[in-house]
Each structure stands twice: as structure tokens, then as C-alpha cells.
């Protein structure tokens, strides 16, 4: 199924009795057996107004096309969506609809917000074929309930997105990265907290081994003089740092953090854990991980572990969530890709799903808390 218009998409879903697997670029992986509904023909940039910082595009539009258009206008998607292909070993072209549906955000999330924070409006078709719009293309909008946020990160379980409108932001003139070696994770987290709690507008705070040494990386972006000034002030505050002031080199560092390049080509399962940064050292010590990488000032932990390990068991009760991002199908079936939720939230989510997809045909099985959890 490859609908060419919203109307056709609506007709397909209105008739449909069997499950469909919604595929944008097929790069993020949900691993299910079902007929595929491709969004690739719902494609194209419909509006781009650089002076109003807005872009509207069909959900099947390749990310590359959007990034190209924005680059021409010296702007960008500030939430810095990750490219999953290297990590998952998947192929295809990521689509903007897939990014929105999975609420994919990168290192800059700590400063500018997630994908959902940049999503101004959606059009989608629910499981019974009804065409629904919410939000719009303006920066501020509180007209009725915010289904825009609800659709972001719903992984296609509430409807198939046909169109999204996004807030875009200016590209920064330059960027630089401070590197700070640290003896252990706890120290690294506290240095990142100090940097993020400074007035110097750090737009990336990550920590991973670099040439064998645990290293904190701090990114500064903006106008040339301003970046230089803030780098100096932070260096004075933190001590013992080295500076990567070459813009391209700095960009490469953050692309690697964003895409978790350190785990590319490895074997083993990959988990993505969101916690309060202050809990990161303690949580990560329980993982028995083969490799670790921290982003978001410690609030995001990437863990590479031996196949079939139940990481949620090791972590125990957690304020946050652990998502199984890469694993063979049987492991994913056993543990579930998403963190099980407490009973009242399971009931609310199930209720929403039932109403937006009464026949249970949209990515069924995905995002469900297993009954035994």
C-alpha cells in the first residue's frame, strides 16, 4: 500500500480490517510482521517561510530533502534528529513523518527541546479513516487540546501522519567543543551539570571514552566572538580542558554522539535510557554494559550489552524509561521495546488507542505494556 494522497490514505484505512505496518523510511525499526503501508508518496515541501521560521511538508518527505532546503536558507531542524541507520544497520531514507512519529531528537534536545517541541501542527488519518488536523503553522497555538504532542512519539499507533509543520531555527555561524577528561562517570556528570547550569548556553553535553579516556564534551554555538568568549569563560570555570575550535571537526564530534557511532558495527543489544542526570552514574553502574555513551548532560544513557540481557531487571525501579533499540526479534518480543508503564497510564494509553484505532490495525503490538509486566 502506497497511498498518493491523504484522501487515498483515508480510503485505504477506512476499508482495512487487517493490521498494517506503517513505514516511512524503514530506518528505525519496529520489527513486526504485517502488510506494509508506505508513506513515501505523501511527499514534498509544501511551504517554507524562512522569515517566519516555519516549514510544512508531506509526512513521507525524505529528511535529506528538508535538510537541503533548510541549509539553502541557512536554517536547520534545531532538535537535531539522529540517523539510526548506522546503529541498526538498516537501509532506506529517513522521512520527516518517521522522525515525528518516533519523536527523534539529538544532543541539542537539552537546550532547544525535542522534536515534539518543534512540531507546530499535524494532519493525520486515524485507524477508521477519519482525516484529522491539529495545531497549525504558527509558533503559538493553544486552540483546543494539543494532539500535536500526542501524535509526536506515538509511533504510528494513533494514526498515520500525512502532513507535519515544523518550527525551524537559524543555523549557527560557528561552533566549538570543549573536551574535558574525567576519572569516572560521577565526576563527568557533575562537570556537565556545572556547565549546563552556567549562563554560557551549552548546546551539547555528552560523555564517552575518547582515545581510551572518559571525556566530557561540551558544545557552544553562535556568533564567532560569542563562542570564543563563552569557551574561554567555561574553560576558566572547569579547568584542564582542550578546545576544538574548528567548526567541521566539532560538527563531526556531535554527529558521532548523535548517531552513537561508537556502537556501529558491534554485536549485542543496544538500550537507550532516559533518567534524571543525577541518577545516571548510579543507574549506569548497574547495567553490566560492554560500552556506555552519555548524552543530555547524563540524562540519556546509551548502553551496549550482551545479547538477551534484561536491562530493566538490572536497573530495577526507575524514574525514567529504558527502550530496547537494537536486538533480535525474539529478545524484543520477550522484553518489549518500550518501558512498561504503571497501570493507570496503561489504561489511559489503551483507551486512547482504542478510540483512535478501534479495529486495532495500526502497528498493533507496538508500544504495548506486556500483560505480565
Amino acid at each position: 500500500m502506497t497511498p498518493e494522497s491523504e484522501e487515498e490514505l483515508s480510503a485505504v484505512l477506512a476499508e482495512r480490517r487487517d493490521p498494517v505496518l506503517i513505514r516511512g523510511g524503514g530506518t528505525r525499526g519496529i520489527g513486526m510482521e504485517a502488510s506494509v503501508l508506505e508513506t513515501g508518496r505523501l511527499s514534498g515541501i509544501e511551504l517554507y517561510e524562512p522569515g517566519a521560521l516555519t516549514l510544512v511538508a508531506g509526512a513521507g518527505t525524505p529528511l535529506a530533502e528538508i535538510e537541503k532546503a533548510l541549509a539553502d536558507g541557512n536554517q536547520r531542524l534545531a532538535f537535531e534528529p539522529m540517523d539510526h541507520r548506522g546503529l541498526l544497520g538498516s537501509e532506506g531514507e529517513p522521512t520527516i513523518g518517521g522522525i515525528v512519529a518516533a519523536n527523534i531528537s539529538g544532543p541539542r534536545r537539552i537546550q532547544v527541546g525535542a522534536c515534539r517541541d518543534h512540531l507546530l501542527g499535524v494532519r493525520f488519518v486515524d485507524g477508521s479513516g477519519s482525516i484529522i488536523k491539529n495545531g497549525g503553522r504558527v509558533m503559538k497555538n493553544v486552540t483546543g487540546y494539543d494532539l500535536v504532542k500526542l501524535m509526536a512519539g506515538s509511533w504510528g499507533t494513533l494514526g498515520v501522519l500525512s502532513q507535519v509543520s515544523l518550527k525551524v531555527l537559524p543555523e549557527s555561524e560557528t561552533e566549538a567543543t570543549l573536551l574535558l577528561p574525567c576519572p569516572d562517570v560521577a565526576t563527568a556528570i557533575s562537570r556537565m551539570s556545572a556547565a549546563l547550569g552556567s549562563p554560557f548556553e551549552v548546546t551539547g553535553a555528552a560523555c564517552a571514552p575518547r582515545e581510551g579516556t572518559l571525556t566530557v564534551m561540551l558544545r557552544l554555538e553562535g556568533f564567532e566572538e560569542s563562542v570564543a568568549y563563552r569557551a574561554q569563560r567555561l574553560a576558566d570555570q572547569l579547568g584542564d580542558v582542550s578546545l576544538v575550535s574548528d567548526r567541521d571537526e566539532s560538527r563531526r564530534i556531535w554527529r558521532e554522539i548523535r548517531d552513537v557511532s561508537a556502537f556501529h558495527g558491534t554485536t549485542g543489544d543496544v538500550w537507550r535510557i532516559s533518567v534524571k542526570p543525577g541518577d545516571a552514574a548510579e543507574v549506569s553502574s548497574r547495567l553490566e554494559a560492554e560500552a556506555l555513551s552519555f548524552d543530555w548532560g547524563g540524562g540519556l544513557i546509551w548502553a551496549l550489552v550482551g545479547e538477551g540481557s534484561d536491562l530493566r531487571q538490572r536497573i530495577g525501579p526507575i524514574s525514567g524509561h529504558a527502550t530496547l533499540v537494537r536486538a533480535p526479534t525474539d529478545t524484543r518480543t520477550r522484553f518489549g521495546m518500550f518501558q512498561p508503564e504503571p497501570a493507570p497510564l496503561v489504561a489511559i494509553s489503551a483507551g486512547l488507542r482504542e478510540r483512535f484505532d478501534p479495529r486495532g490495525i495500526l502497528n498493533p503490538g507496538l508500544m504495548k505494556t506486556p500483560a505480565h509486566a
Binding site: 517561510e49 524562512p50 522569515g51 517566519a52 536558507g73 541557512n74 519523536n103 531528537s105 534536545r109 527541546g113 525535542a114 515534539r116 517541541d117 477519519s130 484529522i132 491539529n134 497549525g136 504558527v138 509558533m139 503559538k140 497555538n141 493553544v142 486552540t143 483546543g144 487540546y145 494539543d146 494532539l147 504532542k149 500526542l150 512519539g153 506515538s154 531555527l169 537559524p170 555561524e173 551539570s193 547550569g197 549562563p199 566572538e225 560569542s226 568568549y229 532516559s274 542526570p277 543525577g278 541518577d279 540524562g299 524514574s319 525514567g320 524509561h321 527502550t323 518500550f338 508503564e341 504503571p342 493507570p344 497510564l345 489511559i348 494509553s349 483507551g351 486512547l352 483512535f356 508500544m367
Partner: protein, 482 residues
């Protein structure tokens, strides 16, 4: 503006309800005397008032849960209330409802600078959240003009914004978690000190749901370190068009100011008369504020004035120090007060794409002549959030109706050019009946499904947001409960 008539069956339960609530609440937390319930008869949309059947002022999440469970069992509608500063009638009671005010719940529960968050009870006022973290040079970013009075509860329910949200976002972008009490009394924790949801983004839909999905009793909010400094520049222009074009150029140039405020001639005149801020008399004024160190501020203001030059500003005044900065902001900050001195006014907050600014201002000017009512415009220009203030005389028969019709026409215009009915004040009762202008029935149906899940009996703030005709079938269940 229609509200559903009070349900006599519910009114008849008042004595029984009072008795049950007494059992779970301290004496002073229950207000049933009509002389006292009158204090809750309206919010800041004062044209509409109706005393509630009862008002309760719980002191804890447990008490909120007990109250809701009892009201749920007895089929009594509940209207949550923060500080009552809604401009949309969001907290307007019905005669058969219980007003549930969270004003007594105003504690700071936790401040955590390492993780850059604060946890508060939601009755706490917006400004006092910043007040609680100022000693360490931190602040809570969303800053509605009403921040001295309005509560975090109302901010979350309305997804409120402020002058500085161009850079820092509105409430939803700064909210990490809530404790929500559902209508049946169930207490749920959503979100917390970590980022993003592991499942559906329920936090995202609770924020901005206008008190219709549950009562929010506690909130985890993101706090930020204050910038080293901030300074505005004031620029005057010959026409609204030119000022609008300048806003667009600034944004495109890659400078991201924290605020771009816009005032038109009627507004400048009123502010000048009221506050004597020394504004130039011209067609349009922009106040653009940037942040950073002294040198960074100088650099950004330099860029901005460079961008403005080709637009031939009639005045360009860079604040050199805090004193000058204060004077530049003085007029803008007293805009609403200044208007209030001249006249009664109605404040709209439709939002438009920035590119439509000149066209919309021109059309509002024409309509002002047609309706014979003056309008002053003051608004957050960077994000297209308009605030036309329509001046009218509440004592003159017919003037309020005329003003409401004019307001509705302005909001429709906002929708026509690709914008929306409300950017930060919410729908409440005020824009309820215009919802079908912006949304199709299927769009509203989708929103109402969410309420069906959280509040199946439609007891929470039931006559708001959705046109009564659209929600009728659902609200109809009301009378049958209990």
C-alpha cells in the same frame, strides 16, 4: 454567551455533598455560604459571572483526590481554579458546580540545581517560582504578564506564554512532569526529572487541556541559569508594514532575540500618556531584547540596528544601561494598565504567520472604522501572537455585543490568513463558539475522544472549549449520573 442551565437534580444534592466533603476536609477549606462563594463567580473575563454551588480549597493531593472521588460518585461537575486570571472564562463556574481552588497548595517541594528543576505545588504563583531559585541566579522562563498573580496550575492548564517565549518556549516546553488527579480520584504521576515520555506523550496533551482532563496538583518545572545580562533596543517606524518587514529580517538573519514586542500608534499614545516613557510618536514601535555578556549584547544589538537601517527607522534607541532599559520597557509593561485607564477593553490573542502582519493590521484598522470601536495593538511580534485591545464602554447598552462581534471578526481573520484563534490565553468560553471556524467536526471529535478517556462522565469543566452543540451528546450524560 450561553452556559448550560443548572441541573436541579444536582443542586438538590448540595446538603448531602456538603456533609460528605466535611468528612474529608478541614472546616475552613469548604465554602458553601452564598455570600462567600460569590468570590469565585468569575475570572478575569469579568463580563461573565455565576457563583458556584460550593467552593473547596484543598491543602493536599490526597484531599483533592477525596473531593473528586466524592463529586464523581455524586455526579457533580467540578471546575478547577488557580488564581482566576484567565482572560477566556476558563475558570467560570456553573451554578451547579464545585469550584476546586488550589491556591492553598503553594509549597516548593524540591529545588534541584544540579538537575535544573524545581518541583512545586501548583497553587504557587508563576513569579514566586522564579523567586524560589533566584538566590542561585536561576529562573523559570515562561513569564505571562500576569505572573505576579497567576498560578502554575492555570499556566499548565492554558499552556501560557509570555514576552520571552520566542527564545525559551511556552509552558509545555518547560514542563517536565505533573501529579494529576483524575475525576474518579485516581492519582497519576506523569513525567518527572527525566526527558521525554517512554510511552505516549500524555504530559503534552494534559498541558493546555484547560482543566478538562484532571486536576494538576504538583509540577516538575525546568529552571534555567540567568543570562549574564539583557538589554533592549527601541525602534520607531513610519508604518506597520515596514516594522513587520524588519521583524522578519531580524529573525532571518540568525539573531535570536529573547523578545520582539510590537506597539502601534494608538497603543504608543496611550502608553505615553499613562507612563511617560518618552516614546517617539510614530506608526509602529519595536522593542527588541537580546541577552548575553556586555560584548555579546553590543554585538547583537549592532547587528539588529544594521538590519533595521534600510527600513529607515524614525527612532533608534539602544539601551546603554539598566536604567535606560527600564525606561524602554516601562511603556510596554504598562500597556494594559494604560488601556484600562482610558476605557473598558477586550484583549484578544489570535496568532498569525509573521508574514501576514501588515495585511492583518491594515484590515483590523478598516474594521475598527466599520465597527466604530477603537483598537490598540500590542503584541509578541516574533511569534505572531497578536494582542488587539478593543476599547468599548461597558455601561453603554449594546457596546459589549458590538465589541464581541468585532473580536470574533478579528479572530476569524487570523484563521483566514493561516493562524489560530488563541496563542496563549486559551479557548474557555470566550472562543468556544468559534472553534468550528478553525476546526472541522472531525478535528473536535478527535479532541473530545481524549476527554472521553480521562473523564468519561464529562464532569470536569464541562461547558468549555467545545461548542455546546458539539459536546451536547456527551455532556447530556451529566444529568443521568448518580
Amino acid at each position: 454567551m450561553d452556559m448550560p442551565v443548572a441541573n436541579p437534580a444536582i443542586l438538590a444534592r448540595k446538603a448531602a455533598l456538603v456533609e460528605r466533603l466535611r468528612a474529608v476536609l478541614p472546616e475552613e477549606a469548604l465554602i458553601s455560604d452564598p455570600a462567600e462563594t460569590r468570590a469565585y463567580e468569575c475570572d478575569a473575563l469579568t463580563a461573565y459571572a455565576c457563583p458556584p454551588m460550593l467552593a473547596v480549597l484543598p491543602g493536599s493531593t490526597q484531599e483533592v483526590s477525596d473531593i473528586l472521588a466524592i463529586c464523581h460518585e455524586m455526579g457533580v461537575p467540578v471546575v478547577p481554579r488557580g488564581s482566576g486570571t484567565s482572560l477566556a472564562g476558563g475558570a467560570l463556574p456553573t451554578a451547579d458546580c464545585v469550584i476546586l481552588g488550589v491556591a492553598r497548595m503553594n509549597d516548593v517541594l524540591e529545588t534541584d540545581y544540579d538537575n535544573r528543576l524545581i518541583r512545586v505545588q501548583t497553587g504557587r504563583t508563576n513569579l514566586s517560582v522564579t523567586g524560589a531559585v533566584e538566590e542561585k541566579e536561576f529562573f523559570y522562563a515562561p513569564d505571562p504578564s500576569s505572573q505576579l498573580a497567576c498560578a502554575i496550575a492555570g499556566n499548565i492548564a492554558m499552556n501560557s506564554g509570555g514576552a520571552h517565549c520566542l527564545k525559551y518556549g511556552v509552558t509545555t516546553n518547560n514542563l517536565l512532569g505533573v501529579t494529576l488527579v483524575m475525576m474518579d480520584g485516581t492519582v497519576v504521576e506523569i513525567g518527572g526529572g527525566y526527558l521525554d515520555s517512554g510511552g505516549l506523550d500524555l504530559l503534552g496533551v494534559i498541558c493546555g487541556s484547560e482543566g478538562q482532563l484532571g486536576v494538576v496538583t504538583e509540577a516538575t518545572l525546568r529552571i534555567l541559569r540567568k543570562p549574564e545580562g539583557a538589554r533592549p533596543v527601541l525602534m520607531g517606524f513610519d508604518s506597520n508594514e515596514v516594522a513587520g518587514a524588519c521583524v522578519s529580517d531580524i529573525i532571518q538573519a540568525g539573531v535570536l532575540p529573547v523578545a520582539i514586542e510590537f506597539m502601534d500608534r494608538p497603543c504608543i499614545q496611550a502608553c505615553e500618556a499613562f507612563a511617560k516613557a518618552g516614546y517617539p510618536m510614530c506608526e509602529a514601535l519595536l522593542i527588541v531584547e537580546v541577552e548575553g555578556s556586555e560584548a555579546e549584547i553590543d554585538h547583537q544589538l549592532g547587528l539588529i540596528t544594521e538590519i533595521a537601517q534600510p527600513h529607515d527607522p524614525v527612532e533608534l534607541r539602544e539601551a546603554k544601561d539598566a536604567d535606560e532599559a527600564g525606561r524602554i520597557w516601562l511603556g510596554r509593561k504598562s500597556a494594559f494598565g494604560a488601556m484600562g485607564q482610558i476605557n473598558d477593553y477586550m484583549c484578544l490573542d489570535g496568532t498569525i504567520p509573521v508574514s501576514a502582519l501588515p495585511q492583518v493590521l491594515r484590515r483590523i484598522g478598516e474594521m475598527s472604522k466599520e465597527y466604530g470601536l477603537d483598537v490598540a495593538n500590542v503584541f509578541h511580534a516574533g511569534d505572531g501572537n497578536m494582542h488587539p485591545l478593543i476599547l468599548f464602554d461597558a455601561n453603554k447598552p449594546g457596546d459589549l455585543d458590538l465589541c464581541e462581534n468585532f473580536g470574533a471578526d478579528i479572530l476569524k481573520l487570523c484563521v483566514d490568513v493561516g493562524g489560530c484563534l488563541t496563542g496563549e490565553h486559551g479557548v474557555g468560553i470566550e472562543k468556544r463558539d468559534l472553534m468550528l471556524y478553525q476546526y472541522a467536526e472531525a478535528d473536535l471529535e478527535a479532541q473530545m475522544r481524549v476527554k472521553d478517556v480521562f473523564d468519561p462522565s464529562w464532569l470536569l469543566n464541562p461547558a468549555k472549549v467545545f461548542p455546546l452543540s458539539v459536546s451536547e451528546a456527551r455532556r447530556g450524560d451529566l444529568a443521568d449520573v448518580a
